[in-house]
């Protein structure tokens, strides 16, 4: 069952063609990794899929339904959410409150109940708190629950963003560089978290520079270069693809992306 279908998407900024004719498909419980050098258009594609940008042409379908014209918050109600490469944390709220915000679309209530603090709202607050605590435990951050997010370190916030996104109970999750800036232990923990999430049937789109993580996790790899699709297939196929080897992985088949990948 196809969750996300991207169909010949192009987007232009002024004269710059940031994406040209990109198509991809993610099924239920599948992990698709987007790789490519800096400036290849990976985050731009994420912004199109999550409706932060409207594509110049082409369409995005979520569960078979065209999402053109919908706002990001409407996509969230349809089960799609994401994390950000440059963290978008609610810095003035505690870690727990950050995750509780992720419960927002699962919470039911009206303004009258909120203003007068009806018992149903209190019960629901308690439920959200419990659920958020569980998620913090799931990503290994429960001991930071009551700390203001502004005081926490980068690697911790990366996991906090994942926990917050999971609070929606999404069907499609877009992770933009989830392990960037994390050490080996943290990376292994995030790897485990992603595996557990996928096993529950969530579809994941992943932008990541850590090739190790990509090759281990991904069912499919989609290689972008300067806005166009260079190759697509299983990790093994992509690894053997001559165009990819030449343009992206380099002759040495280095495990890290070469710094001068674009040259």
């Amino acid at each position: 069952m196809t969750r996300i279908q991207v169909d010949a998407v192009s987007i232009h900024f002024g004269g710059v063609k940031a994406l040209q004719d990109v198509s991809l498909e993610v099924r239920k419980g599948e992990v698709l990794a987007l790789i490519g050098p800096n400036g290849a258009g990976k985050t731009t594609l994420f912004n199109v899929i999550s409706a932060i940008y409207q594509p110049t042409s082409g369409r995005v379908r979520l569960e078979g339904q065209d999402v053109a014209g919908l706002a990001p918050f409407q996509l969230a109600h349809k089960g799609l959410t994401r994390t950000f490469q440059n963290l978008q944390i609610f810095f003035r709220m505690t870690a727990l409150e950050n995750v509780m915000v992720g419960r927002n679309i699962r919470e039911r209530g009206n303004l009258f109940g909120y203003l007068f603090g009806l018992p149903s709202v209190r019960r629901q607050n308690a439920d959200s708190r419990l659920c958020a605590l569980e998620l913090l435990k799931f990503v290994g951050l429960d001991r930071y629950a009551d700390r203001p997010a502004g005081e926490l370190s980068y690697g911790i916030l990366k996991r906090l963003e994942i926990a917050r996104a999971l609070a929606l109970e999404p069907t499609v999750l877009l992770l933009d560089e989830p392990v960037a800036g994390c050490n080996a232990t943290e990376t292994a923990e995030i790897d485990q978290v992603i595996r557990k999430v996928v096993s529950t049937g969530v579809s994941i789109l992943l932008v990541e520079h850590d090739i190790h993580l990509v090759m281990n996790l991904a069912d499919k790899v989609h290689v972008l270069d300067r806005g166009v699709t260079l190759a697509t297939g299983t990790p093994q196929e992509v690894r053997r693809n001559p165009a990819v080897i030449e343009a992206y992985l380099g002759e040495s088949q280095d495990e890290q992306e070469p710094a001068n990948a674009e040259s």
Binding site: F13, N47, I52
Partner: protein, 291 residues
């Protein structure tokens, strides 16, 4: 038809003053990203100080106006250095509140020190009027229009031709690069505040013979100057000038043909309309957003 042209003349005259406020706004905004709510107070100070010196101290027009300009310029630059610069990394809203504070402080000080009465400057060109086919034009009005055009052209020449002017352009284009090539941004921005205060003060002293002024005239001028800047567009050179003249014309026609009691409301309605429908202004272009 005579009424029409009479309204055009008075619209362009007040519009010139709004244009000067708008030009001061955009100069500071482009150099520093700061929105200076006190811009209207400079016009008020130019008129008030000159007027008080002339009427109560018997000083001649030239020395009085020089003192007024110097004092206003000093206030502009010092208020930046003492109050705005120390908070320059604060949020936009904080900086706006600081400039509102400066504006309230200036009008409070003016009312306490120079009084709450209307102040008039005796017309300093010959009081004769021209009568062209029934349309009466005061020579002072011509001076206001000419003065505004002259200030606008001088500023444009300064920004595009002089070494310091190019420094201002550099700071507004790229702060970090400007620092690297040895431009002192604090001095440049202080200079911009000084220049915008000077433009305001000159506007105040040429306009006061016609419009009179009082301690509380600055706020409305600031709002109308901002409306002019928004209408014309903050990103273009001619925008504030054209915007000022248009606001002046709308106001004159509104007062002449619709309702004179609602004169002040026209500029406000234009401001709301522009912000709602065309926030980049008539001449500005919407920059393509890229994250």
């Amino acid at each position: 038809m005579t009424t029409f042209f009479q309204l055009v003349v008075s619209g362009i005259t007040v519009g010139s003053i709004y244009a000067l406020v708008a030009i001061g706004f955009t100069l500071v905004y482009r150099a520093s990203g700061i929105f200076n709510f006190a811009q209207g107070e400079y016009v008020m100070l130019g008129g008030m100080i000159t007027g008080i010196l002339m009427t109560t101290c018997g000083v001649g027009f030239v020395p009085a106006s020089l003192v007024a300009i110097l004092v206003t310029v000093a206030i502009g630059a010092i208020s930046y250095l003492l109050a705005i610069r120390p908070a320059r990394s604060a949020a936009q809203v904080h900086l706006l509140i600081i400039t509102i504070g400066i504006s309230v402080l200036l009008r409070g000080l003016t009312s306490a020190l120079l009084g709450k009465d209307f102040v008039r400057i005796p017309t300093f060109v010959s009081p004769e009027t021209f009568n062209i086919g029934g349309v009466v034009i005061q020579s002072q009005a011509l001076l206001v229009i000419a003065g505004a055009m002259a200030m606008a052209s001088l500023l444009w020449l300064f920004l595009t031709r002089s070494f310091v002017g190019k420094g201002i352009t550099a700071v507004s284009a790229n702060l970090m690069a400007a620092k690297l090539v040895g431009i002192n941004p604090a001095a440049i921005v202080a200079l911009c505040f000084g220049i915008s205060a000077c433009i305001g003060a000159v506007g105040g002293l040429v306009a006061t013979p016609i419009t009179m002024t009082s301690y509380d005239a600055g706020t409305m001028l600031a709002i109308k100057g901002f409306s002019a800047a928004m209408l014309g567009g903050i990103s273009s050179a001619a925008g504030p000038l054209v915007g000022g003249l248009l606001i002046g014309l709308f106001e004159a026609f509104g007062a002449g043909y619709v309702s004179s009691t609602y004169k002040d409301a026209f500029a406000l309605l234009i401001l709301l309309g522009v912000l709602a429908f065309r926030p980049q202004g008539l001449f500005g272009n919407r920059s393509t957003q890229r994250v």
